[in-house]
């Protein structure tokens, strides 16, 4: 979707298990969407495959979860860790959602990533970015 772009190595992450539904995609580049908390996750192998990610804390400041020990080991996390949520742009844009149940967890120093599925969590795969009402007056033209 970008034509051809150069991505610095430090923005290329290995996802050894792929993503659920996209098991074959094991390498992605992070492409920031400037001046926003959003970032694109672009497959390095499949030009037509990308995801829009957002830092979930921007819209849900109290979002929290404990990263299971096994995932921490797999991601070789010692200190640095970055968390994103995958955005689903819905037909009605103001009802767009982000996946809080399965965050994308990155280890920036080792450049490995994984979409972690939280167990025993009440977070949803489709959590509204702008909870009902937040954008109403905007649609009216302000």
């Amino acid at each position: 979707m970008w034509g051809e772009i150069d991505v610095r190595d430090e923005n290329v992450y290995r996802f050894s298990k792929g993503l659920p539904g996209f098991d074959e995609e094991t390498e992605f580049a992070l492409i920031p969407w400037e001046d926003t908390p959003f970032i694109y996750l672009q497959s390095t192998k499949e030009p037509e495959l990308s995801f829009l990610l957002v830092s979930p804390f921007v819209f849900t400041p109290d979002y929290s979860f404990e990263l299971p020990e096994a995932d921490r080991t797999e991601l070789e996390i010692s200190e640095e860790v970055t968390v994103y949520s995958i955005v689903t742009i819905q037909a009605e844009v103001s009802k767009s959602t982000m996946n809080l149940l399965a965050p994308v967890v990155l280890n920036p120093s080792k450049r490995i990533g994984k979409q972690v599925v939280l167990h025993q969590s009440s977070y949803a795969t489709r959590h509204e970015i702008w909870p009902a009402g937040d954008t109403n007056s905007v649609k009216g033209g302000v």
């Binding site: 659920p20 539904g21 990308s50 995801f51 829009l52 995958i86 996946n99 149940l101 399965a102 979409q115």
Partner: protein, 81 residues
């Protein structure tokens, strides 16, 4: 599909390292214990399926949708100011 009958407390071994044990049976609910190496991911099927589906829906957003999304984002940001 391989079908095996097991009683409470009995288990099944898969590939040396994965052990699935029937812990309890209450009505139509079966409690299962799974011992597996750390690198093996285990999910409830319906949870995994819902994440696959959400990922497929999220994949490669169309340019006009991204544009509409960006506009809405800008409007809500302005509103906050």
């Amino acid at each position: 599909m391989l079908v095996l009958s097991r009683k409470k407390g009995e288990s099944i071994i898969i590939q040396d390292h994965i052990e699935v044990t029937v812990l309890a049976v209450e009505g139509d609910t079966v409690r299962i214990g799974i011992a597996a190496p750390k690198h093996i991911d285990i999910f409830r099927q319906e949870v995994y399926a819902s994440i696959q589906e959400a990922n497929r829906e999220s994949a490669t957003p169309l340019a006009p949708n991204v544009k509409a999304f960006m506009e809405l984002l800008r409007e809500t940001e302005n509103k906050k100011k």
